[in-house]
Symmetry: C2
Subunit: 271 residues, 2 copies
């Protein structure tokens, strides 16, 4: 097992509220007790406006809410967060900023653009992303790709405890430092974005590892965070690859064992 | 490989528009050509109302649209479909029914209830589902669980060609007969629902196999289709298990190799 002390934040498997013990039977008709992941709802308010209710794991509601609003363009990167109130009985979080917000229009647009395949994303973000070119000159050494995957797999996690979650990890060189999990892979990314924003962590020299697939929305969120390298053990979709090429993102997929495939930005991989 | 002729419908790997060839590099810095899955948007109209735009694989737009509307309670089971028009340039599909529809209210509710983890689902469906008790007396033999998984894995599929998709399968006893895939697992379920509805296939004596996780939304859709047994090679979430117990659905998860776990309705599994 990897020592969790090497992380700034990593899954808290000691927290019993994140999983639930359930009685069942196994393939030998034997009674068993097993842990399953505990979903919850989290309702996010921005100032006095209700924005969304997410199904999620409630380990980091603050980071999730902030990351969600950032990735939906509802909070700008230079915005000051005045106050965060979380009510863990009602499972409601209220984020207060100095700027008066009114997102009715954007919220309306969501109705016709959200797709099951991709989580939910509000309008106009595609347009913004297409104009970005990631300029970071950092590189990743060939062997780090295997090394990062291995370290993540050996870190104690809710995935190893109960399954049914996705993991997202920020790595500096080949050292994973932030590890977030959620039932929704987009929630896991949003938790990462929220954590890095509130803790003012530089993103340009980091590597992003995810267990989820490399769809366009995953690319959008990585580019929005200004992270130049994205690795996944899962596969690609065509729009994901297209967007990665346009934005100069290094995209490494199907990273399993010592194998992987690079479909964009291979100049950042050092052999 | 499993003979595809045994299926009523199964993945069409000959259709070149469903994947895209992309040049990249592998772990040995060698140029490679690989296939990735081709996402598309599909905009669904019900009569004269725009309902949603889904990111999906466009192999069965008709089944996807009908299944989506059924699972969102926008078409009732006894409703007559008057006409289906699909424009494959605009990627728009229009479903026409005899009943005048107005879903502005339901569409509005969606804004605050959709969760990334669970795809999108419109209001009030939870309430309806909780009152259902599946009464089907069919059973599944212990060894079929392994048998179905194996047959699905050995069927030619977009997953084997390009990865990054989920599969959903309907099986009669241990014989898979309908196999749908999509970038979104909920789209794959909706394609199945649409196919079974339009082809008037009995659901009560079928077994549903999915590669996706057993979240509450997956349970809801299975129960809505009136299918009594649901198997997944992935894990469970707490709400999924709770809802399966309430509705008397047989829930088998973590089906890998010869292992599996039953967390609800084990009276339908014959040892």
């Amino acid at each position: 097992m990897v020592n969790q002390k090497k992380y700034l934040v990593s899954p808290n498997i000691q927290n019993n509220t994140l999983t639930q013990k359930i009685e069942g039977k196994d393939q030998d008709n034997k009674k068993i007790n097993t842990r399953v992941i505990q979903e919850n709802s989290l309702t996010i308010f921005l100032n006095n406006q209700e924005i969304v209710t997410l199904m999620c794991i409630l380990d980091h509601p603050k980071y999730l809410a902030i990351g969600y609003l950032l990735n939906q363009n509802m909070i700008k990167k230079n915005e000051k967060i005045k106050k965060i109130d979380y009510d863990d009985e009602l499972k409601v979080i209220v984020i207060r900023t100095n700027i008066k917000t009114n997102y009715e229009k954007i919220l309306k647009k969501k109705i016709t653009t959200s797709g099951c395949a991709q989580g939910t994303i509000f309008g106009n973000i595609y347009e913004e992303i297409k104009r970005i070119k990631l300029k970071s000159k950092i590189y990743i050494k060939h062997e780090w790709i295997y090394d990062i995957s291995k370290k993540v797999n050996l870190t104690p996690s809710l995935y190893l405890e109960a399954g049914a979650v996705h993991g997202c990890v920020i790595s500096k060189k080949n050292n994973p430092i932030i590890y977030m999990e959620d039932v929704g892979r987009h929630n896991a990314v949003d938790k990462i974005a929220g954590y890095m924003f509130l803790n003012k962590i530089n993103t340009k020299d980091k590597i992003f590892y995810t267990t989820g697939r490399l769809t366009s929305e995953m690319i959008i969120k990585t580019v929005k965070m200004n992270i130049p390298i994205l690795i996944s053990r899962s596969g690609f979709t065509s729009w994901g690859v297209e967007l990665a090429k346009k934005t100069n993102l290094t995209l490494v997929g199907r990273a399993k064992g010592k194998k992987y495939v690079i479909l964009s930005g291979h100049h950042r991989v050092k052999f």
